[in-house]
């Protein structure tokens, strides 16, 4: 398999990259692990089950359809769904095609002249006492159920966390039939105002963004969903299912204040605290990461590892429009398109404005340093291995270890089937502040996963090549 450009991930960034690469004449392979293109953002029902007009659920559905139709009808572009990238090594990109838990799936090795990584991000939820009860969802998970399966997660629902993403999630839940009794944004009003309203002229450059947000704000008002800032769900209650939540008012570091906490009866909770980029393939490719732990790219979306490019959420959380712009740049340059191309210039211009906007959103919704004050020793932090906050405190105190590998093995946090994808960042943060010296040493993180998706031993057993490597 030797396309000119291999694009991994068919969300907005990957779709835009594939289109741009093909438009300048390159052959393209576009891989995605799910059954349909569109990614997290344009998640939808399969055509056979689409009952409603999708545009009700997706306000920019028409741009998705245009993008998808162009790519799927493009003879130069091979769209491969159910394609699981297992690993990247010096030999190429190793892919299994078939069901995610299948056996004897088809194996392919792609050796492309250029590769665009557009693997996106998954949504993050900070641990909260009781978050392991049935009825608790990540905001993204709940939205996926609403958009993709048209399933409402509950009748009375609260959405809590931080970031502009909470609003579209609440809107999707409403459309799926839930009653959203409150959206709780942890960031305090002062910080939101400072970053959202600073330099208002920058909004002028991003009309789509403003329109999008205005639409959500209006939708919230119309549905009369109470939107609260500086508040968080700090405990979730119930025996075998969620029955209520405690909502607390927070100080600016997210420490609950003594006053102002109340209980709300609900049957579902959606938590969303930003996103974690899916970095393992970029790391396997040898791409350098920034201090904020995103893939570092240059003005052409090139990573430090030739011939790998990166676009979308793995380079920074910036939303759909930024992902589209970055994808367009990456695809165009990866396919060796002309530097003076008009579309390329448009994309660069859009990226410039959108990056500044994203930086401000990031600052407005930064995770408070004292969120862990709402944990109790019994709060589960790693759900795969049932590791509690108390376990982390104990191993850290007993061992005085500063290395993540030791702390993981001592506590078993991050060692289960999700390999730290769900809990990794939170576990690292909890351990970091408790390590002697106040930081972890040795530079290892949970992001490095040479095997990026589980593969059966029997499948791997057919991947042999000569046992003696030539010099």
């Amino acid at each position: 398999m030797t396309p000119d450009v291999l694009v991994i991930g068919a969300g907005p960034a990957g779709l835009a990259a594939a289109r741009a690469a093909s438009r300048v004449g390159a052959t393209v392979a576009l891989l995605d692990a799910s059954d349909y293109v569109g990614g997290q953002y344009w998640r939808h029902l399969p055509a056979s089950r689409a009952a409603l007009d999708q545009s009700v659920l997706h306000h920019d559905w028409s741009s998705f359809l245009a993008l998808r139709d162009e790519i799927e009808g493009d003879p130069r572009c091979d769209v491969v769904t159910s394609a699981h990238v297992v690993a990247i090594d010096g030999d190429g990109v190793h892919v299994l095609i078939g069901a995610s838990d299948g056996r004897d799936r088809e194996r392919r090795v792609y050796r492309a002249a250029a590769v665009v990584l557009a693997t996106g991000a998954f949504d993050r939820a900070l641990p909260v006492p009781g978050w392991d009860l049935p009825g608790v969802f990540t905001a993204g998970g709940a939205q996926a159920l609403a958009k993709g399966e048209r399933v409402a997660v509950g009748e009375r629902v609260v959405v809590a966390g931080t970031g502009p993403f909470l609003l579209p999630v609440a809107a999707s839940l409403g459309q799926a039939g839930s009653r959203v009794v409150g959206v709780f944004e942890a960031s305090p009003a002062s910080r939101l105002l400072r970053h959202w309203l600073a330099r208002p002229w920058e909004f002028g450059a991003t009309p789509d963004k403003v329109g999008e947000l205005a639409r959500y704000a209006w939708g919230q008002l119309r549905e009369r969903v109470p939107y609260h800032v500086g508040q968080a769900v700090t405990a979730i209650h119930g025996d075998d299912h969620v029955t209520s939540v405690t909502v607390s008012t927070l100080d600016s570091s997210w420490r609950p204040l003594a006053r102002g906490s109340r209980t709300i009866e609900v049957d579902a909770v959606c938590l969303g605290h930003g996103f974690t980029p899916r970095l393992e393939l970029a790391i396997a490719a040898g791409s350098r990461l920034s201090a904020q732990r995103f893939v570092e790219v240059d003005a052409d979306q090139r990573t430090s590892a030739t011939p790998y490019f990166a676009a979308g959420e793995i380079t920074g959380i910036g939303g759909v429009d930024l992902a589209l712009a970055e994808g367009a740049i990456a695809g165009h340059v990866a396919a060796r398109g002309r530097a003076d191309d008009l579309e390329l210039r448009h994309a660069r211009h859009a990226r410039h404005a959108l990056v500044r906007f994203a930086t401000r959103i990031d600052a407005a919704h930064a995770i408070g340093s004292n969120w862990s004050t709402w944990l109790t020793p019994a709060t589960i932090v790693c759900r795969c291995e049932d590791v509690t906050f108390g376990d982390l405190l104990r191993v850290s105190r007993q061992s005085r270890a500063t290395g993540l590998r030791s702390l993981k093995l001592l506590s078993r946090a991050g060692l289960g089937p999700c390999q730290g994808r769900v809990c990794g960042r939170s576990v690292e943060a909890l351990l970091e502040v408790r390590a002697p010296g106040g930081h972890l040493t040795g530079g290892s993180t949970m992001d490095r996963r040479p095997i990026s998706t589980p593969v059966r031993l029997g499948e791997l057993a057919t991947w042999t090549t000569p046992e003696v490597r030539k010099p």
Partner: protein, 387 residues
């Protein structure tokens, strides 16, 4: 007496514990985090089965005896620390060809002569002990003494014990050179965090020991020998013993010029199955290597076909500290006074750690050793450089 130990892997940790408990003032200097390198990148097999009679088997037997007593000793020293998961589950070495089977029987015979329990099993007896071993096997040997620990936790426990006895463990501290007196004796080390004084310096820097020795003006030929391991998701199915294919012994003893594979299968306390491993001398290259994983998987499925559907969720590699004659160096540098080594344990450093610590501590103190130390000397003939 003041001793500086370079490296907080299992060898440095074991030395620190033993020395500090004999009243020596110990400081470990570690450039990264404790147990951040080889000692957390392998398995925790404590094996007699893979060793032919000779000094390594003597050290392994001695060490195994110390390991057996460690859980109770550590409980006294550091209380209710996380379990080091010591388990004497026994090993099963399985031959799948006539040639392997003959070699295995011969080895077992010799090992019995050296006091190792090694029982030759028929196919039926083998399948009774471990029903999922391939029925196309020819013979097997059961080694009831083979044991395992969780090596990362064990190393942290040894460090905690050393700390409780007064040792210091300084992380983020890179050793950059030695300080000498007028006679050329090492009297301290320079690091990125300033200078340290010492009466003796011990290099326990794993596969970097050769490099570190050079930096300090000493002579030691120890470098990396890479190995990959695969880990399954937690499984209900347990493998009761450690199961190896018989060519494991050959691979362990090989010269490492070319890539070697030998299967080791074991269930861990957490329910995952560890599947090892490869051996190749390619420097410190940790990049993914699908062909190596494939070869490991192919052999594992051959040895235990029932594992075919197991899901592999993780692969990791480490660098065994490789010494050209497959024996660690435990003792003084051949020229430089005050400079000592505990390095080059290759694929057996976890198993050999407690014995290594005892030997080196006795040598430092000028005390008699429990087993002969000469075979591990830096002056032994098998280390003399071939032209």
């Amino acid at each position: 007496m003041k001793v500086l130990i370079i490296g907080a892997g299992i060898i440095g940790a074991a030395c620190a514990r033993t020395m500090s408990r004999r009243g020596i003032d110990v400081t470990i200097l570690e450039r990264g985090s404790a147990v951040g390198a080889t000692s957390s990148a392998g398995e925790g097999n404590l094996l007699l089965s893979d060793k032919a009679p000779g000094p390594e088997l003597a050290l392994a037997t001695y060490s195994l005896d110390l390991w057996r007593r460690l859980p109770a000793a550590l409980a006294d020293e550091i209380g209710n620390f996380t379990s080091i998961e010591f388990e004497a589950k026994g090993g099963l070495v399985v031959a799948t060809s006539a040639e392997e089977s003959a070699g295995l029987a011969q080895l077992a015979e010799a090992q019995r002569g050296a006091g190792v329990e090694a029982r030759l099993l028929s196919v039926d007896e083998t399948l009774e002990l471990e029903p999922d071993v391939t029925p196309s096997m020819i013979a097997a040997v059961h080694y009831p003494q083979d044991a395992q620990v969780q090596p990362t936790i064990a190393t942290e426990a040894l460090l905690a014990s050393a700390r409780a006895a007064g040792a210091r463990v300084l992380v983020d501290t890179l050793v950059t050179g030695s300080r000498r007196d007028a006679s050329g004796r090492v009297v301290g080390l320079t690091t990125n965090r300033g200078d340290f004084d010492a009466d003796h310096v011990v290099v326990a820097a794993g596969p970097w020991s050769g490099e570190v020795a050079t930096r300090l003006g000493g002579t030691l030929d120890v470098g990396p020998r890479k190995g990959w391991l695969l880990v399954t998701t937690p499984m209900a199915h347990r493998i009761a013993h450690k199961v190896y294919d018989a060519n494991y012994v050959g691979a362990v003893q090989s010269d490492g010029g070319e890539r070697q594979f030998a299967t080791v299968l074991e269930s861990t306390a957490a329910g995952t199955v560890l599947i090892g491993s490869s051996r190749e001398n390619v420097g410190f290259d940790a990049d993914a290597d699908v062909a190596a994983w494939g070869a490991i998987a192919a052999r594992a499925v051959r040895l235990m076909p029932a594992l075919r559907d197991a899901a592999i969720m993780r692969a990791y590699c480490g660098f065994r500290p490789f010494s050209r004659d497959h024996l660690p160096v435990i003792g003084a540098d051949r020229d430089v006074a005050g400079l000592w080594y505990a390095a080059g344990h290759e694929g057996a450093g976890i198993g050999l750690a407690p014995g290594t610590a005892e030997l080196l501590t006795a040598l430092l103190l000028g005390a008699p050793t429990d087993i002969p130390a000469e075979p591990f000397s830096s002056l032994r003939p098998s280390l003399a450089r071939a032209a």
